[in-house]
């Protein structure tokens, strides 16, 4: 069952090979620039044949990305990127299919397609640019906007509870979820490579800053001064340690996760949880994805579970059906069953 479909190449590509000739029209300082740079840095590491990469997007600032990458690209309609990408991959499993969407695109108008893409586990690499606002329509609240936030369509504060994309992915039985920040491009690149290597639907949430309509929405965790204390970069097989002094860690106290300080109250490194991205049960991964507030926001690959992908299952079924098919061509089908000569 374990098959890989995207042809590899020995060609040594560089960032330049994937940079398109189109002028990048995002606002200066927009987090999207950094995400694009991370993607352009990830592609050469994958050795996928350049002609076989296809970028699919929906509508929104982030969805302009296919124009800026020199691959095949499809700039779709609002919310439907996952559905379009599903068809691209089904028609030709040899394509490496990347989906780029914003928070509104993926979780409001396109929420249905996202959860079903995740549920199917088709081999798609999905990046969600989460700036917690509708930027292209100039500042309305999105499904991830913080509760109570004042925006153009919530002048008295939102009363909508926001989605947490990671929890949504786990709830839909997702096999890969990772989170990163626009301002840590090296981590983003690493995660993109890991996502591409994963057989199945990979979802990457990038906490991205819209400096025009929602500036500093992630500042509470991304500011250099607080970042190390407010975030934790998870690594498979390693203890969950964070903090400027690398002396804080996460412990499961039997009911929930808690942040502890190594050396205080008798806590040692042995009390700290070791990250296992491969556990099939979503319990701990869900808790990790949920963290925030008193706990650091989890970055890195939170979940990466092996499960036959829709692509593998589909192609396997196609092969089996072809091998056992009693018809060699459509003529055989037309003449099958009860027929008679006049």
């Amino acid at each position: 069952m374990e098959r890989h479909f995207v042809p590899k190449t020995d060609a040594e590509y560089t960032k330049i090979d994937f940079t398109s000739d189109q002028m990048v029209k995002w606002c200066p300082g927009c987090g999207d620039h950094a995400i694009l740079a991370s993607l352009l840095a990830a592609f050469p590491k994958l050795h996928d044949k350049k002609e076989n990469i296809c970028m699919v997007s929906g509508i929104g600032c982030s969805s302009r990305i296919p124009y800026y990458v020199d691959t095949y690209g499809f700039h779709g309609i609002h919310g439907r990127a996952c559905a379009i990408a599903t068809g691209v991959k089904l028609a030709n499993p040899e394509l490496s299919v990347w989906v780029n969407m914003g928070d509104g695109d993926s979780m409001a108008i396109g929420g249905n397609h996202l959860i079903h893409a995740v549920r199917r586990n088709q081999d798609l690499d999905i990046t969600i640019f989460n700036n917690e606002i509708y930027g292209l329509t100039k500042g309305q609240y999105s499904p991830t906007t913080k509760f109570g936030q004042v925006t153009k369509t919530s002048p008295f504060g939102t009363i909508d509870y926001p989605f947490n994309p990671g929890e949504l992915v786990m709830g839909a039985q997702g096999t890969f979820f990772a989170r990163t920040l626009d301002c840590v491009p090296a981590l983003t690149t690493d995660i993109m490579v890991r996502a591409a290597e994963h057989d199945g639907t990979s979802v990457i949430e990038v906490l991205q800053n819209c400096m025009i309509f929602n500036d500093k929405t992630h500042a509470a965790i991304t500011d250099r001064a607080v970042r190390d204390d407010r975030t934790i970069v998870l690594e498979h097989g390693k203890p969950m340690i964070f903090g400027k002094e690398k002396n804080k860690g996460l412990r499961f106290n039997g009911r929930q996760l808690e942040a502890v300080t190594i050396g205080e109250n008798g806590i040692t490194i042995d009390d700290i949880m070791v990250h296992d991205e491969t556990t099939e049960d979503t319990g701990i991964h869900m808790m990790l994805a949920h963290m925030g507030g008193d706990l650091p926001v989890a970055l890195g690959v939170i979940r990466n579970v092996k499960k036959p992908s829709y692509t593998q299952l589909y192609e396997h079924q196609m092969d089996e059906c072809k091998a056992s098919c009693k018809y060699t061509c459509v003529d055989d089908l037309l003449n099958s069953g009860d027929t008679w000569e006049v």
Binding site: E51, C54, Y72, I84, T86, D331, N335, V342
Partner: protein, 612 residues
């Protein structure tokens, strides 16, 4: 039986009616199959409720299946010569479909006081007056079936399931047919359940013998004339299966993988169900999470090089509107099959109508032209699905194929073609590493762009819903937009150069021209033929190419003093023709009842117009 008991007829209409679970669709199918195999032409019309199993013995749960057999069959027939009613509710609701004097077979065992009350009868419907008007057969179907069940050791529930075979056996006797084909079918169908085969065969034969012994109906045995059909190999086929097979044939002939992205919807689901069986022939079927994902996945598949299709019915087409605009804008080949049903909204899911025409023609934002074609018989759904695929692939545009519930669920004889004899299909594929490739470079004749597939070297490009310039990049330039709008329209207009001219049938020298389109051809053909045979003069033209129209359409319309446009909606095609040919006054004959036309009503209307 002796020959003098037999009446020869050109055609015969039989209607099977019962509770939704009574197996009436199967009885009808088996009768039509057996008739077809013994040389009759056939057409069938399943008339079933939206509810799967509505409460037992209620009018809401009545399911009907009409079979028209004969020498030359255009439609499933207006009213029936033989009605089978398995319970009081079906008797009550279906009697209106029986001709005066028809043979009506009822399951007498089911006419209990309780069941009659449930059907809304306050007193016994079999009055003396009624018994004079019809040949009524009070057959003890349930009790006979249960007795056989008992003899064979089947439980009551299993025995009751074979009641339909009793009725079918009676019909076989009345139509002078043998049980051989149906017995063979039962052996095949229930190969793993020998008890079921035995029971059904025994009940079938019991029904046959019961009818044979019944002197009352001896005089009514009908020998239906054999069909005179062109030589060839034939089979029975429903419109939805024919549509699926047409797409498979187009995929094979064009060399493009077949992709169908769809969501279940009545009455279109069977297109997807059928294609799902044929992964072995390469059909890539995807049951999407909704209608929108159905078409969007198809658009993605088209971008990646498949013959991409989506199948739906009216409400689903509404949901697909935005994505259809995307397919128009990206100029990708796409076949959208709309098996129309009664609307608006959820409307009449299991009933037929032609009311999606406006939606097909105009239901998108912006200037968004596309090709619209319509099938006109269950069997020719094959050719129109094939043609839709050919047009999409050669002209690089979405195509909407309109069929309807009547065609989709109905069945007909199909003369089996050889795929190699079908018209060729040449997709407009770009050449890898073509240095001059531009996404919107057009063929000077057709205006179709080239199809460059991801995976092809040297043709990387982007498509999408935003306006582009011919070279590919985005453009909001006013002149460019005007040019691209013109190009997309002109591409569709020029399809008229590649389709055959419209034909006039009936009596071309008549004063009255009957105009039809899509699934009404059977009844219209027969009505016009009968009137001409009766010495009236009527001309008839039937449209399958809806947008663009055949080039000579105006010439035809301008020739006739009186034109009547007949359709199962409030006049959508008439309105469309008027916008293009405002100089031609047109009458309309419309029916919006969820039902097909009847020949009788059409003839009456045409005669009225002739006398005007």
């Amino acid at each position: 039986m002796s020959n003098n008991q037999i009446v020869n007829r050109d055609d015969l209409v039989v209607r099977f009616a019962g509770d939704s679970g009574d197996g009436m669709q199967l009885s009808g199918t088996l009768f039509s199959d057996a008739s077809a195999l013994t040389g009759n032409d056939i057409a069938t019309f399943p008339d079933y409720p939206a509810e799967i199993r509505a409460p037992h013995n209620t009018i809401a749960g009545v399911s009907g299946y009409q079979v028209h057999v004969g020498s030359h069959i255009y439609s499933s027939g207006d009213k029936c010569d033989i009605l089978v009613a398995m319970n009081p509710a079906s008797f009550k609701s279906q009697l209106k479909w029986a001709k005066k004097g028809a043979t009506v077979i009822v399951d007498a065992d089911t006419f209990t006081t309780e069941a009659m009350e449930k059907a809304g009868y306050k007193e016994n419907p079999f009055t003396e007056e009624f018994e004079h008007a019809y040949t009524i057969v009070h057959a003890p179907i349930t009790s006979f079936t249960q007795r056989i069940g008992q003899e064979l050791g089947a439980d009551k529930k299993t025995a009751d399931k074979s009641r339909n075979m009793f009725a079918l056996g009676m019909i076989f006797f009345l139509t002078n047919k043998t049980l051989e084909k149906t017995n063979a079918y039962l052996e095949r169908k229930f190969a793993k359940k020998p008890d079921v085969v035995k029971l059904n065969k025994a009940v079938l034969s019991e029904g046959y013998e019961y009818a044979e012994k019944l002197e009352l109906i001896h005089s009514k045995i009908v020998e239906v004339a054999q069909a005179q059909m062109p030589k060839g190999r034939y089979r029975n086929i429903t419109g939805n299966v024919a549509t699926a097979w047409g797409l498979l044939a187009a995929s094979e002939r064009s060399g493009r993988r077949l992709f169908l992205g769809s969501y279940p919807i009545t009455p279109a689901t069977d297109v997807m169900v059928e294609l799902s069986k044929h992964k072995g022939l390469g059909a890539r079927v995807f049951q999407a999470e909704d209608e929108i994902a159905g078409i969007c996945s198809a658009i993605g598949a088209s971008y990646a090089g498949a013959l991409a299709c989506t199948s739906t019915s009216g409400p689903g087409l509404s949901l697909k509107s935005e994505a259809l605009g995307l397919a128009v804008m990206t100029e990708l080949p796409l076949v959208v099959v709309d098996v129309q049903r009664g609307g608006p909204s959820t409307g009449l899911p299991t009933k037929t109508e032609q009311s999606d025409l406006n939606q097909a023609l105009y239901g998108r934002n912006g200037e968004a032209p596309l090709i619209v074609v319509a099938a006109s018989s269950s069997a020719n759904c094959f050719y129109w699905a094939y043609t839709a695929a050919k047009l999409a692939l050669e002209h690089m545009t979405p195509v909407i194929l309109l069929t309807d519930g009547y065609l989709g669920n109905g069945s007909q004889l199909f003369r089996i073609p050889k795929v190699a004899d079908l018209p060729s299909i040449t997709p407009r594929l770009a050449k890898p590493n073509d240095p001059d490739y531009r996404p919107f470079r057009r063929d000077p004749e057709t205006f179709a762009r080239e199809w460059a597939l991801p995976g092809m070297e040297g043709l990387r490009h982007r498509v999408g819903g935003l306006e582009k310039c011919p070279d590919g990049p985005l453009s909001t330039d006013p002149e460019n937009h005007a040019l691209m709008v013109y190009n997309r329209q002109e591409k569709v207009n020029r399809v008229a150069n590649y389709i055959p001219e419209q034909e006039v049938k009936g009596n071309p020298d008549a004063d009255l021209l009957v105009v039809g389109w899509g699934g009404t051809a059977g009844a219209l053909t027969l009505a016009v033929e009968e009137l001409n045979n009766e010495g009236k003069k009527v001309a008839y033209t039937h449209f399958n190419y809806i947008c663009p129209l055949p080039k000579n359409t105006g010439d035809i319309l301008r020739k006739y003093k009186k034109i009547v446009v007949c359709e199962l909606n409030n006049g959508q095609f008439a309105g469309y023709l008027r916008t293009q040919y405002p100089e031609c006054p047109m009458h309309q004959y419309n029916k919006v009842m969820g039902l097909p036309f009847e020949v009788g009503e059409l003839k009456a209307e045409f005669e009225r117009l002739l006398e005007m």
